[in-house]
């Protein structure tokens, strides 16, 4: 296969061609040539005029749920990967909260084998504890050897400090990475949304910011004691950002991600109990959003993820307390990030957060736009304005708060393999 991409602006901080307008010639999956003007003629060459468009290393979403196995009525792996590819991603980190959980070698292999040959590469996250029950350690080494890139019980936080410490210590043997979802359930008892003025006026039990922050403090202490790597996922409060900032300054091996929803939406969207805005972590205050953006800008927060969470309509369209958390997020990811984070991140900085950093912190190879490198690329546009409607949803589940929202920019195509 031969491909010539003309006049494209390269966005890749690791490439000598960064920020330059170039022609890129790809042959059999390898970047053969990058130059001001590449002339290749032949019937078998596909030519793409990419004037005004950008190209970057393929995007990577380190937090998606494809509900497979067990909840295929919400989403399945094959369709999920199609959604990811169409949304500009060439790699996804898959959460272990399936049924059964991804907590042993065979379940890791199931995901990897099912995705073989697909343009989107799958990177499974294995569970820390058996069945994600927070009781005993799962076979982390075996999963690691089979392809698990990190370990997490997803949104079942590890309740017991001792178990978390053992996970951090044990995974050091093979350079495993433990991912903490900081959430103390006993402080968020039956909580439905961010604790604040809005929760008070809705009579809904609040999830205090404290429930996240005490867990960050605990896990930072555990990681320091174990001298282990730790990654915090879905950080949502201003004080959490500050805690991680201080830990990084102190030299701890800590990284963090934030979900796109927590950068755009605040708790006021819940004013009429719309369960499309029900998330975990919950949508917080405007001040939290400001602090999260600051954390992104100064490097405290390394990665932005979609936390793509398909849910069938029956689980969303019901009484608020019964409604499930989360929304699908792949389809809207770039259109939102490019539109709403432009005051915080340049296009290059955004690419750092959604293509480079996730791979870096998971110890994965980082694709580079350079001659001789394997092509793992996303072609995208940053200017086109469009409205997200239900027909733009490729996911099996349609749960999203962003119907009729204005988007800016979109992924046009991915090149991988």
């Amino acid at each position: 296969m031969k491909l010539l991409i003309k006049n494209v602006k390269i966005v890749d901080p690791n490439s000598p061609h960064n920020k330059k307008k170039r022609d890129i010639f790809i042959k059999d999956g390898i970047i053969e040539k990058i130059n001001r003007a590449v002339r290749i003629i032949g019937k078998d060459v596909e030519m793409i005029d990419a004037k005004g468009q950008h190209i970057s290393p393929g995007w990577f979403d380190m937090k998606v749920n494809f509900c497979d196995p067990g909840y295929e009525y919400k989403e399945d792996l094959q369709n999920g990967l199609k959604v990811a590819a169409n949304s500009g991603f060439t790699g996804v980190g898959i959460m272990p909260s399936t049924n059964p959980s991804i907590h042993n070698k065979s379940s890791i292999e199931y995901l990897i084998n099912s995705a073989k040959g697909h343009a989107v590469h799958v990177f499974p996250f294995g569970a820390i504890s058996v069945k994600r029950e927070s009781k005993e350690l799962a076979e982390m080494y075996d999963m690691h050897s089979s392809g698990a890139v990190a370990f997490t019980d997803d949104k079942n936080p590890i309740k017991e400090s001792g178990l978390m410490l053992r996970a951090l210590m044990y995974s050091k043997n093979f350079n495993g990475i433990v991912v903490s979802f900081p959430y103390d359930e006993s402080l968020a008892h039956n909580g439905q949304m961010h604790e604040g003025i809005m929760s008070t006026s809705l009579g809904l039990k609040g999830i205090p910011s404290l429930s996240e922050e005490v867990m960050i403090i605990r896990d930072l202490n555990l990681a320091e004691y174990a001298d282990a790597r730790i990654h915090f996922t879905c950080v949502s409060t201003a004080h959490s950002v500050e805690l991680i900032r201080q830990a990084k300054a102190k030299g701890l091996k800590v990284t963090a991600d934030v979900c796109i929803n927590n950068l755009i939406l605040d708790d006021e969207y819940l004013h009429d109990f719309d369960s499309n805005f029900k998330f975990l972590p919950p949508l917080r205050s405007k001040d939290d959003i400001t602090a999260l953006k600051q954390g992104l800008k100064d490097g405290t927060i390394d990665v932005i993820c979609s936390d793509h969470t398909p849910e069938n309509i029956e689980n969303k369209q019901c009484e608020f307390e019964h409604a499930a958390n989360g929304s699908i997020g792949l389809e809207t990811f770039f259109g939102l990030a490019n539109n709403f984070l432009s005051d915080t991140l340049s296009t290059e900085e955004l690419i750092q957060k959604i293509a480079i950093n996730p791979r870096k912190l998971l110890n994965l190879a980082i694709p580079q736009i350079n001659e001789g490198e394997r092509a793992n690329l996303t072609l995208f546009d940053t200017e086109s304005e469009w409205t997200f409607t239900e027909k733009d949803i490729l996911s099996k589940s349609k749960n999203t708060p962003y119907i009729n929202w204005k988007m800016k920019g979109k992924a046009l195509r991915t090149f991988n393999n």
Binding site: N190, I197, S199, S201, L202, G203, E314, C318, E319, E321
Partner: protein
């Protein structure tokens, strides 16, 4: 005559001061009517109202039913126990089944906050929220405020203390919204663990001392401890609660003024108030119950007016 600004009564949050005053004026007329020998009026003839109670209730259900009958409406009663709800039917399906029997209005009590708001997005008939979890109980707040107004002449500038389990109380929230909208001052008082951290953002004073609240107020609205909504313990024992927040005759008499005592019922005698307080001349608990029917007639009547406007 101007009508209500809303199609449903989902909460006091959604209505304005003129709506509240209109409901009060209408309730005054109905109160006069229900004290006549012939208590019934034909206002809602040909209107069918379904009372959907997905949570237990005695007085609210009776009060609504009586209000509907006094207005000559056809009444359909539905309780969740033994119904299809226990077989897993969704709220919207249950309600749509009832509506297909040509029902014009719904009165709904439900254990989940926001249930009435949720339903209003999926069905077209007028809804009256008769209590949704820990969110709102608008007709209770209206009848409380109406009762205070009746006794004290006006509400502007009056001081009302709401005492007890504020966190689990829809009555507290609706009362706060209602009283603030018509110019009264509000204080909430109770154990620290039963008062939401951000309650003062609603414009209320906060106290954790019963005597302080009583000395401040003109009216004390004593709430019941909502044991059924407390899935974990927020205080060690009822005994200790009474020691700090139980209203006794001795405390009441020691105040240098005569305050009004309200209670939304059902009373736990000997817990939040002693029997001699409940039965004292300062207690207006039975007036509240009587006014409840008039208030609910007013709300039903005014919202039914909206049905004809839609036609």
């Amino acid at each position: 005559m101007a009508g209500l600004s809303v199609k449903h009564l989902l909460g006091i949050k959604n209505i304005n001061a003129s709506d509240i005053n209109l409901i009060f004026e209408t309730a005054e007329n109905f109160k006069e009517i229900i004290n006549r020998p012939i208590k019934k009026v034909p206002s809602l003839r040909d209107i069918t109202i379904a009372n959907l109670f997905f949570e237990n209730s005695t007085r609210t259900k009776l009060s609504f039913e009586l209000a509907e009958k006094r207005l000559s409406a056809d009444v359909l009663n539905f309780s969740a126990s033994g119904s299809s709800v226990s077989k897993g039917e969704t709220l919207v399906d249950t309600v749509n089944n009832i509506l297909s029997m040509k029902v014009d209005m719904l009165v709904m009590r439900h254990p989940n906050p926001g249930a009435a708001v949720f339903l209003s997005k999926h069905i077209s008939v007028n809804i009256i929220n008769a209590g949704d979890g820990t969110h709102e109980h608008p007709t209770q707040a209206l009848l409380d405020a109406f009762t205070i107004k009746e006794k004290l002449g006006e509400l502007q500038g009056k001081k009302i203390a709401i005492i007890g389990d504020i966190m689990h109380s829809r009555v507290a929230l609706s009362n706060i919204f209602c009283l603030k909208k018509i110019g009264a001052e509000v204080m909430v008082c109770g154990p620290t663990t039963l008062i939401p951290k951000y309650i003062s953002s609603l414009g209320v004073e906060v106290s954790h001392n019963l005597r302080e609240a009583l000395e401040w107020c003109d009216v004390a609205n004593m709430l019941r401890i909502q044991m059924e909504r407390q899935d974990i313990k927020y205080f060690p024992s009822i005994r200790e609660y009474i020691m700090q927040f139980g209203l006794t005759k001795a405390i009441l008499d020691s105040l240098h003024k005569k305050i009004l005592v309200l209670h939304p019922g059902p009373i736990n005698r000997g817990v939040e108030i002693t029997s001699d307080v409940a039965d004292s001349s300062q207690s207006v608990i039975l007036n509240q119950v009587e006014n409840g029917v008039a208030i609910r007639m007013a709300v039903l009547y005014l919202l039914a007016g909206k049905i004809h406007n839609q036609d």
